[in-house]
Symmetry: D2
Subunit: 228 residues, 4 copies
């Protein structure tokens, strides 16, 4: 899996702070742009965000390139509707090599891994034979496994990212989208350290929101996400 932060709104935190100030200020936007340059912006922004006024975060958007994830993971990903996606098509791009993801629970056992890979390769072979026989790739792909690799470009704003990280960095999420979300969080935090400071599963910020189905180790998780 490869995750790359391709683009983001320039000066994302200053942008957000300026938008937050505008709501409560009589200053012109030009004046505000100057005012939010200093360190005071963090204090103000922190107060706003703590109050749950998250809409200002929507002015900062982030575009990620994601490669080498499975179609199982991309199907989960695109269920987040407040985002934009461009995905490599299995209808228009013919798979030439068997590229697939092996879940760690399987990869950890050499015997299971071998069987998994054999079965996945067999599916790719059958796909190739169907294509060679004139079946359109869009139909032949019905044999390709959920494990098949895909590429996708994703754009989300900071508000949606915070929500996405809360759900998908949690141990309750499946390992693959969790790994992906954690890499996205690390890269987003590198360019917007204040906004994403406490980002991650809900336990990073306090109480677990997943009800009775807790993972049993919020302290460990909290530590891990604080020091990503």
């Amino acid at each position: 899996m490869k995750v790359t932060l391709l683009r983001h709104t320039p000066e994302p935190e200053r942008t957000v702070a300026m938008a937050a100030r505008l709501c409560y200020s009589a200053s012109t936007i030009g004046e505000l742009e100057g005012k939010v340059a200093g360190s005071s912006q963090e204090k103000f922004l922190g107060k706003i965000l703590k109050m749950g006024h998250l809409s200002v975060l929507e002015h900062a958007s982030f575009t990620f390139g994601i490669e080498g994830i499975s179609r199982a993971a991309s199907h989960q990903l695109v269920r987040h509707r407040l985002a934009s996606y461009s995905q490599q098509s299995q209808r228009y791009v013919t798979a030439t090599d068997p590229e697939f993801v092996v879940p760690p629970t399987i990869a950890a056992d050499p015997g299971l891994k071998k069987r998994f890979e054999k079965e996945a390769r067999s599916a790719y072979d059958a796909y190739s034979r169907l294509v060679a026989r004139g079946v359109p790739p869009e139909d032949a792909r019905y044999l390709l496994p959920n494990a098949a690799c895909t590429k996708i470009i994703v754009t989300m704003n900071a508000r949606e990212l915070l929500h996405f990280f809360t759900l998908r960095c949690c141990d309750r999420a499946q390992w693959e989208i969790r790994e992906m979300a954690t890499m996205m969080l690390k890269q987003a935090r590198a360019v917007a350290p204040f906004i994403f400071r406490d980002s991650g599963p809900s336990c990073v910020r306090g109480k677990c929101s997943e009800g009775e189905m807790t993972c049993g180790r919020p302290k460990e998780t909290r530590e891990r996400f604080r020091n990503l």
Copy 2:
């Protein structure tokens, strides 16, 4: 594939007509409800929709139950973001029987069909063995094919449905989602005949919007969708 219109806003066309009238009228909402009862509502509504003022259509929503479609089709479906989805989970529901979709291009050739089914069954077998060996279903499913059946409940409003039918009833869409969209259209039209009268691919209403990649038979398509 089974498509069932489970629920819809009561009196969808009267609801939409009432909302349209409100924008241009000094009457109370109670008075409007009475006024839009007659046949005149269609004339007014037709004028509004022809002008492209489609937002009034959002007040009528439709909930469909869809069963027996492939995960290939559901991955396409959930890319429509102005809609609500509840899908049977491959993480929490273990597949006990091999249920999968065979594309017509493959089903039409007994030899291809046999191979396809053999390969798909083999994938389900491998899945079951992994589960039996203690692999979580959410990981074992990485071997399940795109063809694997899923169930999903979908809610869209009439505006989004019109857009969805334009894209997905078109010959450019893949056969499976096209079949599904066409069944949805037929059922939506049964309860809102005026709104969905000219619904379907863009050629039903005039010029093809798919640029140079036309199907070559808009006349036939137009006829088919008018008499669904």
Copy 3:
């Protein structure tokens, strides 16, 4: 102010419960429809909602007719983007009578009220004179006050309504939209008592989410919203 629940998805709670069950069940949708008929649906639904899996609530939508609110309130209302609106137009509908809202802080003081009404009437008079002089109503209305009455039809699904009620039933919201939201909640609860049972400001369900700016009387508020 007049708030009327005009339409809603039939059997909203059964619809939502059916969608929730689908995610975790191997049953057909037809079987599920039967299963969720009994009282057990509430227990299951309660568990799902407590875990924060709110997307199933989107399958139930509610359409309200709202009359006699100010344009100040409607400007706040339409900031909620996951909703559909049809509003009486000040461009196409000429105001014939001065209809406006007087805030309670002003109405409580006869002197202030008199001045307020005089000023508002003066604005309407000036508006009418401009229209009489041939100024288009869309321009003449620049003189109409924020207090001017408007009518609007609003459709939201149950998930958005819960969010809307959390923000707008709170004492931090302005009195007018709070009054409106509270009337909407009361009517939504009448047809979906389980979904909206704990609905209202965040304090109804536990801790205040409005940070340091609490109203100082969460207990009273909680009581009020529970017995609406």
Copy 4:
């Protein structure tokens, strides 16, 4: 009115072209970033957009600062839901000076203008007296006119901007939002000339979409928007 393009996705057109290519290519995202650098990107992008595959445009977002528009215009603006807004609050910011917009149809006639300004100032005076008497600004503002100035920061992606410009640059839109949209278009085109080349009312690209209510001068309009 002052419109400033505050931020935008860096290299917006290259970003969009890269996303478009990804859908149809087996290349890695790193390779694609190189490939879309040349002039060929425009040809490819043009083909994609002509076919109506507009979702790739969502990866480029634009943030505008808008000052000196009326609350009448901002109420229209925020009806566009696929966008993000931060607006100066009339609840939390007390108006100290009468700042308001005079429509051109009124400004053109010295007599009307004088009356308009007198009435608007009178509303602001009444507002200030109410505030001085202890009425909360959020309630006193019920007297402020639609003409009252506001400031707002708006973020839209390129897809929504194209839609927004189609509706709001048209002569059917009110003069103020049309003036604002036209200034936004000019600035967006300066940084993304290819994407916004044919942007503006529908007549710029061909047939008027406003049905029978045409302005009667599409040729003139087309010329104007091409040479903005």
